[in-house]
């Protein structure tokens, strides 16, 4: 009985210490990325552009198609409820505000974690498993500067751009449903939207959010890959953890950021 209790307690303590350990490693990992980024800025830009193709351009299809449908559904749902109160023209406001403030940054980050984050983790995990990272170190090439840093900057730059495109395409999707399909007046749709969406309070805050999500998602994806046990199972688990942890981090950070932004 006593033995059993100590065993459980030891298990909990071990897990807890392990988490703290990983957190410290992750923090040091981020610090190394930032420090190594200034090593050779010109080469970093070239490598970042290549990685932006993989993280940004290749994520475009899923982001834009989802955005179109999210905007269309928002307009339909919003119209359905708003028309009961005789203010169906406000559907445009509803679509724009929910997209710019919340859904644009959050859904983009969730899709990004699933589309680009997993690819980053799997790629780096496999590089580690096949000892490509060690081989680089043998050739006096720093893997952080050569492999990790470009992916980090590519993710951080791509996310706000993707989120902006998501919001814009979502609004256009909402327009497509609201104006030709549901017969809301074209002018009222845009003018009500423009009077209630504020540039500083809504659009800039949305961009800040997506920027923070970009940093969080990319760091999680990179660290899980870099820290993955060098086995097939290790890489698969790391990839799963990337999606789970990124999603949780995005939703948690979203609450924290929103509470800051609303109170101001």
């Amino acid at each position: 009985m006593f033995k059993q209790t100590t065993k459980t307690l030891r298990g909990i303590g071990h897990r807890f210490i392990d988490r703290i350990w990983r957190l410290g490693t992750a923090a040091r990992f981020v610090w190394r990325i930032l420090r190594r980024s200034s090593d050779n800025p010109l080469r970093l830009i070239g490598l970042t552009v290549r990685e932006m193709y993989a993280t940004g351009v290749l994520s475009l299809v899923i982001i834009l198609v989802s955005a179109l449908f999210v905007g269309m559904v928002l307009a339909l749902q919003g119209y359905n409820t708003l028309q009961r109160y005789g203010s169906s023209e406000a559907a445009g406001v509803l679509v724009a505000l929910s997209l710019v403030r919340e859904l644009g940054p959050v859904v983009t980050a969730l899709l990004f974690a699933g589309r680009a984050g997993t690819a980053i983790t799997a790629e780096i995990g496999l590089m580690k498993t096949t000892e490509q990272l060690s081989a680089m170190e043998m050739m006096a090439v720093n893997p952080i500067a050569r492999v990790i840093a470009p992916r980090f900057w590519a993710g951080v730059i791509s996310m706000p751009l993707l989120a902006a495109m998501f919001s814009m395409v979502g609004v256009l999707g909402g327009y497509l449903v609201a104006v030709p399909l549901l017969g809301i007046d074209h002018g009222a749709f845009w003018s009500q939207m423009q009077t209630s969406v504020d540039f500083r309070a809504d659009i800039v805050n949305g961009v800040i959010k997506s920027f923070v999500f970009g940093i969080a998602c990319t760091i999680i994806a990179l660290f899980e890959g870099y820290d993955a046990p060098p086995t097939a199972e290790g890489v698969s688990r790391a990839t799963t953890r990337t999606v789970v942890n990124s999603s949780l981090a995005v939703l948690g950070l979203d609450f924290a950021l929103t509470s800051f932004m609303i109170s101001v």
């Binding site: 902006a164 495109m165 919001s167 609004v171 009077t195 969406v197 540039f199």
Partner: protein, 167 residues
Amino acid sequence: MDRTTMDLWVGLFVAAGIAALIGLAMKVGNLTSDHLGDTYTVSAHFDDIGGLKPRAPIKSAGVVVGRVDSIQFDTKRYDAVVTLKIDKHYKFPRDTFASINTSGLLGEQYVTLEAGGDEEMLEENGKGKIDHTQPALVLEKLIGQFVSGKASEGDSGTSQNTTENTQ
């Protein structure tokens, strides 16, 4: 993948992202409609501003002529001082009347200016002051008045009834 085509795609991606941001700012947001040309400021005292907020529109005959710049509390007169930024194109007479209205039943509040008949115009050096103002209609107060009015009506009604009964 050829390096140059990849660069092209990334360039297109970045350009599309920036275009989306500008589109959001211009088409969805209020960056364009918010832009006023040269303005002059005028202050007005209100007993109650209700839910008026900075950047609320100032309308005259329904046309937006400016925006609320700031709202402060005057510790001498114990009322609200609202600083109004009005477009330089629109001059208002000195006896202009300012009131706070609500768009729709529960919509946002805005300031309405009604021009008076004075020959002299409001000063544009920032010292201009609107003397005639009407406070915001606060819905709770209105309901309160209505309810108390009904209650007093009801009182008189019952008293009438009682007198009828006694008769």
